[in-house]
Amino acid sequence: MSTVRLHNVTAAFGKRPVLDDLSLTVPSGGSLAVIGPNGAGKSTLLNAIAGLVAYHGEISVGTTPMRAMARSTRARLVALVPQSPLFPAGMTVFDYVLLGRTPHIPYWRSEGAADVAITRMSIKALDLSDLEDRSVDTLSGGERQRAVLARALTQKPEVLLLDEPTTGLDLGHQQTFLELVESIRHERGTTVISAIHDLTVAARCAAEMVLLSGGVVAATGSPATVITEDLVRRHYGAAVEVIATSGGPVVVPLVDQTTPSTTEPTK
């Protein structure tokens, strides 16, 4: 089915290696959260799976290697919710979501009734029906993120890649968004791989995690095994306290309050 396999994947940005001989497997219908400090290679990993960056090694979905795939075939299999999507001025929500049908429409043709129907279903699923005729650039942050997810669903992908999907959303919208993704995964059996900055959020949204650091897998497993005070200190250079809760580990930054501030007036 849609098991995602990366085998000895190496990618470079210019001369700087970003992914270094990386191998990992996400089972079909599974959910993987990718965490790691800035520049660890999280976005590059997702972009490599989406076919947007060149790489050595092999990435496959199911039994098919991605490299040999035509762009449109790949986009029918894998949808990416990018980190900072562009929202063209004046484009309606309907037209924006319809863009997800691009890989399904033959090059010289326009969309058919089936494409329109699928677009409507995605719009409905993400509760955007009332906003259908609004311009995407006038939406709120939460609405925008739902529009991007609706576009990705319209691709009818087997694998959904989310690059920092909750950045810029408030707590309530973060929660709603992640619940939406979970319900989609359960309903459609979509494999979900998300790069997530916030460790506590990451711990709650996937049963499996990978900690990337310097382009290699530093730790992998359940949130409790990946998010530890020791690993966070080593790879993020941050002092934290990890509190185990029923919903997974919670990361609390430790701010050293014994060091006197230099701006404090001296007596």
């Binding site: 947007l52 762009r71 986009a75 990416l80 001025a89 691009t102 890989p103 329109v116």
Partner: protein, 344 residues
């Protein structure tokens, strides 16, 4: 069957309005001039041309000649050139994701001008090699402009591409002027042409450009959906399965060919590619599915109207048509510049 969302599809009303404008422009254009041609006679003449229909327009042989050998070809060439420049402008704006892209401002028209001048001084005027030479020049210009803008690199903004275009246009215009001055016997011919003109020698020039413009317009219209996909940027478009390189090459080639054909018969007419697509955008929305076809028809109507103005304002003399388009185009350009700054 579910109807597509109405908002961004080409609806009948704006399409009919554009065609109605073109029809009015066409009629006014052929009845305007020194010799008096009544509207009724013109309509009957057109009906008479329809196979199997025969009506008497009451026109004299001279009136018939004025209509069919002077005014009609001029009106048609204006419509074809206007359609070509407007659709090329819309295409460049979509491909470069730049609201200020225009055949004239990108230097494409100047490149075509140089190519065409070289063709004219070597005696190739009014042969199919004229548009071919214009196309070669235009293609070099668009490649150099794009390359220069890319060199501008990191902080690539709307302005970078246009600045590159201005540099390329100046350079090609300088070369063109040099070539023109060093071949003085054809200098008058080239000079009249470089300011933009629609005076024709009958139908031969119409036949020369129509095939090129028809092919380019067909390619651009066929890509209107892809231009909407490109609006989300190169990376996202690629992630959506679009072959970005193929779309870019095909659309830029088509727009450049349309520009070259227009320049080959009408010289340098600026701003049509800015005015028309943006007027359409303001009236109907941002989707290229609407902008491309409406620019085609609207561009035809606009240039026919501009030609009427060029012929009547200082009658019996004529203004170069490029003066009229620049007169409307410059304020438009300023407005778009202000808006795109606001959008960041």
């Amino acid at each position: 069957m579910i109807a597509p969302a109405a908002s961004q599809r080409l609806r009948p009303a704006p399409a009919m309005a554009a065609f109605a404008m073109l029809a009015v422009a066409a009629v006014v254009s052929v009845i305007t001039g020194a010799a008096d041609l009544p509207v009724r006679g013109v309509v009957l003449e057109v009906v008479d041309r329809i196979p199997l229909l025969e009506v008497d327009s009451g026109f004299t042989a001279r009136q018939r000649d004025v209509l069919w050998q002077l005014r009609a070809p001029r009106m048609v060439i204006g419509a074809v050139v206007g359609a070509a420049l407007a659709v090329a402008g819309a295409a460049y704006q979509g491909v470069f994701r730049n609201p200020l892209a225009d055949p004239y401002l990108l230097g494409v028209a100047a490149g075509a001008g140089l190519g065409a001048t070289l063709a004219i001084i070597t005696g190739l005027a009014s042969t199919p090699l004229l548009p071919a030479a214009a196309f070669a020049g235009a293609l070099v210009a668009v490649i150099v402009t794009y390359g220069l803008a890319k060199l501008g690199g990191a902080g690539r903004t709307t302005a970078t591409l246009i600045l590159a275009g201005v540099a390329v246009a100046s350079f090609f215009t300088a070369l063109q002027t040099y070539v023109q001055q060093t071949s003085s016997d054809t200098v008058r011919e080239v000079f009249a042409w470089i300011l933009g003109r629609l005076a024709t020698f009958g139908w031969s020039e119409v036949l020369l450009v129509v095939p090129f413009v028809a092919v380019s317009a067909a390619v651009i219209v066929a890509h209107r959906r892809h231009l909407d996909v490109l609006a989300v940027g190169e990376g996202e478009a690629a992630a959506l399965g679009l072959d970005v390189g193929r779309v870019r090459v095909l659309v830029v080639l088509a727009a450049t060919l349309a520009t070259a054909a227009a320049v080959a018969v009408a010289g340098l007419i600026g701003f049509v590619g800015i005015i028309v697509p943006h007027a359409v955008r303001l009236l109907t929305g941002a989707s290229y599915r609407v902008i491309v076809p409406l620019s085609l028809v609207g561009g035809a109507a606009f240039l026919v109207f501009a030609d009427i103005a060029a012929r009547t304002i200082v009658s019996p003399a004529e203004l170069p048509i490029g003066v009229i388009t620049a007169f409307f185009g410059a304020p438009f350009f300023a407005m778009i510049l202000a808006r795109s700054r606001g959008a960041g």
